[in-house]
């Protein structure tokens, strides 16, 4: 609760509260890594247990998943640009790039929902087999995280429009950028371990 404020360095690191919150969020991300690791392990254990439902090889197609990957990876880049603008003190640049990030995130979500609906039509849903339960919960948990991230980003955009750059708002944006990059990392693993492997074996 020390109130001393540094005069130099990034805004979000100037107060003790800011430094503590950022460290706390890193630890939270460590917990998130364990959460997703457990889901990946579950998925791996249930791999091939498709029962009467279609196999992933029959359903997975490279096209749409590549588009989703492209959207999410680009959004991570634009999120980085937003933080770069924040560090330069450019509120307008921060907001612009954050809105671009959001738009890409919504695009990703749209394709994911379309993809899920498609699979359900083909007879592969949460309830059709152990494998598909594992798939939908792993990919769905990631999708849910992206959804929460977009809602959160909207709240932060409202706050920065009202208050401008302060220690607190820049801390909040820095933390959501950590979160967003983290989701990108998780997606790379989903893309590789779920989709690419699922297409070949």
């Amino acid at each position: 609760m020390a109130a001393e404020e540094l005069k130099t360095g990034p805004l979000e690191y100037r107060t003790q509260e800011g430094r503590m919150t950022i460290l706390g969020f890193w630890i939270f991300l460590a917990a998130e890594v364990v959460l997703f690791a457990t889901l990946f392990a579950t998925y791996a254990v249930l791999y091939g247990r498709t029962a009467d439902a279609p196999t992933p090889m029959e359903l997975f197609e490279p096209g749409i998943v590549l588009v989703m990957t492209f959207l999410l990876l680009t959004s991570s880049f634009t999120c980085g640009l937003a933080i770069h603008q924040m560090r330069r003190g450019n509120v307008k640049g921060l907001m612009t790039w954050m809105i671009v990030t959001l738009a890409l995130g919504f695009g990703f979500l749209g394709f994911e929902i379309y993809e899920f609906v498609h699979y359900v039509h083909e007879g592969a849903s949460l309830t059709s087999s152990a494998y598909w339960s594992g798939f939908f919960v792993l990919a769905g948990t990631h999708g849910l995280h992206v959804t929460l991230g977009t809602g959160w980003a909207i709240l932060l955009l409202i706050q920065i429009a009202r208050r401008g750059l302060t220690n607190v708002t820049s801390r909040k944006f820095f933390i959501i950028s950590l979160y967003w990059h983290f989701l990108d990392v998780i997606w790379i693993f989903i893309f590789t371990c779920v989709y690419l492997i699922g297409m070949v074996i």
Partner: protein, 647 residues
């Protein structure tokens, strides 16, 4: 669904419980209204973010849960000693051993220890509160509401009955229909959020808010045990979160993770559960080790022997705790090689634990021991815990485990480690730090009575159970009228009632001491034997803890501070202190999420969705809340400190 389908009917014990619950729920609001205490309760407690008050609420709730879990235990013991009496039927027996285990581990042991951490850790490191006080309040309410949700299952909907481990496929929708298992899943999920948040919160507090000069290896050993425990929490609890979520999705939304149909894998649950469950055991024992270390050093009046070895052994125990989970199901058929690996890793844990035991003994060696109540609990812990530890190594031998598995030998083992370790530590820690919390000590004479009754009750209760296990009595067994088992079962039940009596004396002591104990005048309550910073504060502790934070560059800093006549109040160094404001959002948010969980238990989706939306709305409100707290002025600090120190 009508009201008669929801309420549990047909059991005299449950009717009695309903009546008592109804009476208590009427009595509390009536008393609050009569004494005009609503505002006080809301302003001072329900909305508090003060770590000391939150800690007190944790401990009070844990004592309440200890009572509930203890009642379950006594009912089981009555059934086992008098199997022909027909006291419980099989269904009721299943429910009671399930709730006993769950309540004791999740809603008693952990909150009790987290309560002590809440109060003591910031005081030991010279901090003024947690890193995130708001989050701390949220954690408490998530635990409390989760615990209440779990407990109302007794009268509404029916208790879970698949054991505290909730093994699938038994706990799946096909074999356990109805809301019982859902209560287990949602109650644990809700309180698990709070535990994870507390783990992060305490970790940041310890890493970032230590007094100037205090390096990690200057920290008191209880703070060290808390830090190591927080690492285990952060890496173990997400596994439980996922396991509970998957089973919930199985039960409510028809997925096939753990089902027998559609190629689900019931055995995966056991793996996930124990990948959390074994580290969980160390979450409740490491802080206990920390408490005993503090108490033994204080009343042996020596610096703890082998401080560095103590810390490193805790770290090694924490790492090993993630590598032993398969020993909970050696008999599941993983094969000789896998069992051997886990057998060896299990036995390895005995090494750092043994190091700790020898360090405690070495601390006691040639010291002038003061036999206070906390010291009695600590001294009783050492031999009792060794009995539990040695039988643990026996259980860890995979080949021999085929004989012991699922027998009363196991039951005796884990009660020996969890009661002699965790419960003794909770009592010891509470008595030890009681003056810091309430401004007066607990009566020593009554405390000794409580200790001796509980101690003998404990051994009389659980020692015979080793032999019952070796005689082949399985755990979770409802009919025990086998002639060979009966005498030992009766002895065990007598011991259990002894423990119950000890608990009653302990609770009476709380009341007696509140009425009659001498109020503390100095902060250093135990005859000036305090060694760490919490004893340097005045009693009662001011809400900002430290007027000025001392510079610390050694272990046991308060010993030297006393020699040099330094205090935590240096008038020339006073600055305004920044403190967080009290908030209503934590309790309201968790109440909404509790409602959502309640809706999910009965699969009433509109209620669940309403609760979820409410919870999210409060989170949004919180995001827009830029209240930065307030400053305590130098004049006010002077006034408070001068009064407390009699200057």
């Amino acid at each position: 669904m009508g009201i008669t389908d929801i309420l549990v009917t047909g059991e005299p014990i449950i009717y009695a419980a309903m009546v008592s619950i109804a009476l208590v729920s009427i009595a509390i609001p009536v008393l609050l209204t009569y004494f005009k205490k609503w505002g006080w309760l809301w302003r001072e407690w329900l909305t508090t973010v003060d770590h000391k008050k939150i800690g007190v609420m944790y401990i009070l709730s844990a004592l309440l849960m200890l009572f509930r879990g203890g009642m379950d235990a006594l009912m089981m013991r009555v059934q086992l000693a008098f199997p022909d009496l027909g006291f419980l039927d099989s269904q009721h027996y299943n429910e009671i051993f399930t709730t006993h285990g769950t309540v004791m581990i999740i809603f008693m042991a952990m909150p009790f220890l987290i309560g002590l951490m809440n109060i003591i850790v910031p005081l030991q490191i010279g901090a003024r509160d947690f890193a995130f006080p708001w989050l701390n309040a949220m954690s408490f309410w998530s635990f409390f509401i989760g615990a209440m949700l779990f407990n109302i299952s007794f009268v509404i909907g029916g208790s879970p009955d698949a054991g505290w481990t909730s093994y699938t496929p038994l706990s799946g929708a096909a074999l356990s229909p109805g809301p019982g298992q859902n209560f287990y899943l949602m109650g644990l999920q809700l309180s698990g959020i709070g535990t994870l948040a507390t783990g992060i919160n305490l970790m940041v507090t310890i890493l970032k808010m230590r007094a100037p000069g205090m390096k990690l290896f200057h920290m008191p050993i209880f703070t060290w045990s808390t830090l190591v425990t927080c690492f285990i929490i952060v890496f173990a609890f997400p596994i439980l979160t996922v396991a509970l979520a998957l089973l919930t999705i199985d039960r409510i939304f028809g997925a096939h993770f753990f089902t027998l149909t559609a190629e689900g894998l019931p055995m995966m649950w056991a793996n996930l559960f124990w990948m959390w469950g074994h580290p969980e055991v160390y979450i409740v024992i490491l802080p206990a080790f920390g408490i005993f270390s503090e108490i033994i050093a204080t009343f042996a009046k020596k610096r703890l022997f082998g401080y560095h070895a103590m810390v490193w052994s805790m770290i090694i125990i924490a790492l090993l705790s993630f590598l032993v989970w398969v020993h909970h199901f050696f008999t599941m058929g993983a094969g000789a090689f896998v069992n051997s690996v886990f057998s060896i890793s299990t036995m390895l844990i005995a090494v750092p634990t043994g190091v700790k035991i020898f360090n405690w003994l070495a601390t006691l060696y040639k010291s002038k021991i003061e036999f206070t109540v906390p010291m009695l609990w600590s001294l009783a812990f050492i031999p009792s815990f060794i009995l539990g530890g040695v039988t643990g190594v026996m259980l860890g031998m995979a080949a021999a485990d085929y004989q012991f598995h699922n027998s009363y030998f196991l039951v005796a083992h884990f009660h020996y480690v969890l009661i002699a370790g965790t419960v003794f530590a909770c009592f010891a820690g509470l008595v030890f730090w009681y003056p810091k919390m309430f401004g007066h000590k607990m009566n020593e004479r009554l405390g000794k009575w409580a200790f001796w009754i509980f101690f003998f009750g404990f051994h009389v209760c659980f020692f015979p159970q080793y032999f019952l296990g070796l005689d082949g009595m399985p755990r979770r067994l409802f009919i025990t009228n086998v002639v060979e088992w009966l005498p030992l079962n009766v002895i065990s039940t007598v011991g259990a009632f002894g423990m119950g009596l000890g608990f009653i004396v302990f609770v009476y002591n709380v009341y007696y001491s509140f009425r009659h104990a001498e109020r503390e005048k100095t902060g250093d309550s135990w005859n000036g034997n305090g060694r760490t910073l919490e004893w340097a504060t005045t009693t009662p502790v001011p809400f900002y803890n430290f007027a000025t934070v001392p510079y610390v560059d050694e272990i046991d800093p308060y010993v030297r501070m006393k020699e040099e006549g330094k205090t935590t109040y240096d008038e020339s160094q006073l600055k305004p202190i920044h403190m967080p404001s009290y908030k209503a959002t934590p309790i309201i948010m968790m109440a909404f999420l509790g409602l959502a969980s309640f809706g999910l238990v009965f699969e009433w989706m509109p209620v669940a969705i309403f609760g979820l939306i409410g919870g999210v709305a409060v989170m949004i409100l919180r995001s827009f809340d830029y209240d930065d707290g307030y400053y305590v002025s130098v004049e006010e600090i002077k006034r408070i400190e001068r009064k407390a120190r009699g200057l």
